[in-house]
């Protein structure tokens, strides 16, 4: 009985029935990072293009 309890405690978090269980927090984090990159880089480029156009007096 004690051995079974110990084995249960030692079981890795994500392993269950041969397939990883859970892990959605990593998926959400990855999507947040990717979306932050998409938005921030696009914004940075847009601001630079707009700045350049303003400098040259292009409407």
């Amino acid at each position: 009985m004690n051995t079974l309890l110990l084995a249960d405690e030692l079981k890795p978090i994500f392993i269950g029935g041969g397939q990883m269980q859970g892990g959605w927090e990593f998926v959400w984090t990855a999507y947040a990072v990717a979306w932050a990159g998409i938005i921030l880089y696009s914004l940075s480029l847009w601001l630079r293009v707009r700045g350049q156009r303003a400098k040259e007096g292009v409407k």
């Binding site: 859970g22 959605w24 990593f26 998926v27 990717a34 998409i38 480029l45 630079r48 156009r53 292009v58």
Partner: protein
């Protein structure tokens, strides 16, 4: 049937628009807007396919869904950075053109952004699957070196004031960095690596492949729009450097 047809149709539309943009200069004022709209719409739909429609992977469960962001980022970096190397060779060997230099700069910056974020996403995926965020693995190391080499390339461009020297020296650095691109691409086959080998669509469920191809097309449209605007910006700055606007009239960034 539509599972295969949808991403291929969207790819055909994107490639058609890109060819139209490159071949017919008159269309350059509006084609990028259509591609941008396609990218935005696909980015909005992509989470549905990737996070709910695609089934769980037989061993990795749900964390494998990071593949739909990680791999398109890296694939697009591997499209942009080798193109940068080709253009650098072109600049040094064939024609010393400011347009080629500006396009090289644009591809390097967009490639660094996509490669850097892709590398970060890979490390997030590594934690649930390998148990660590980073492992001293040949693919991870060469990919990291790739990002830092091209960051160095962009830094070098900022440091050199003379446009001709800048273009020549950065082209040389780009060609040298190209060796790391080859190593990174083949790292999983050349060395003992914990990183998985590329999968074949023949051995993967069609419902897993479709969102992947869908994501690739979305990122292709997105990357094209970024490169186009970054190129126009670099070209305008270059022309102003060579001949200031007050001397020859204004250089315009086409909106």
């Amino acid at each position: 049937m539509w599972v295969k047809a949808l991403p291929l149709t969207l790819l055909a539309i994107a490639v058609g628009l890109i060819v139209c943009h490159l071949a017919v200069p008159k269309t350059r004022t509006w084609v990028w807007k259509v591609l941008a709209a396609q990218a935005v719409l696909m980015f909005l739909v992509q989470p549905y396919f990737a996070l709910t429609w695609a089934p769980r992977e037989v061993m990795m469960g749900d964390p494998y869904r990071i593949i739909y962001m990680h791999v398109p980022h890296m694939f697009m970096a591997f499209l942009a950075l080798p193109l940068n190397v080709i253009l650098s060779v072109w600049y040094l060997v064939v024609k010393k053109s400011w347009a080629v230099d500006a396009l090289s700069e644009a591809l390097a910056e967009v490639g660094v952004y996509l490669g850097g974020v892709g590398w970060l996403l890979g490390s997030i995926w590594a934690k649930p699957t390998w148990g660590v965020y980073f492992s001293p693995d040949p693919r991870l190391i060469t990919a990291g070196i790739m990002v830092f080499l091209y960051l160095g390339y962009l830094t070098l461009r900022r440091l050199i004031e003379d446009p001709e020297k800048r273009a020549t020296w950065s082209a040389v650095v780009s060609i040298l960095a190209g060796a790391d691109l080859v190593l990174t691409w083949f790292a999983t086959k050349m060395f003992r690596s914990i990183h998985q080998l590329p999968s074949s669509p023949d051995t993967v469920d069609a419902q897993i492949v479709m969102p992947f191809r869908f994501s690739l097309v979305a990122f292709l449209c997105f990357m094209f729009v970024l490169v186009w605007h970054r190129y126009r910006l670099a070209l305008a700055l270059r022309k102003n450097e060579i001949a200031p606007p007050e001397a020859v009239g204004q250089t315009q960034v086409i909106a």
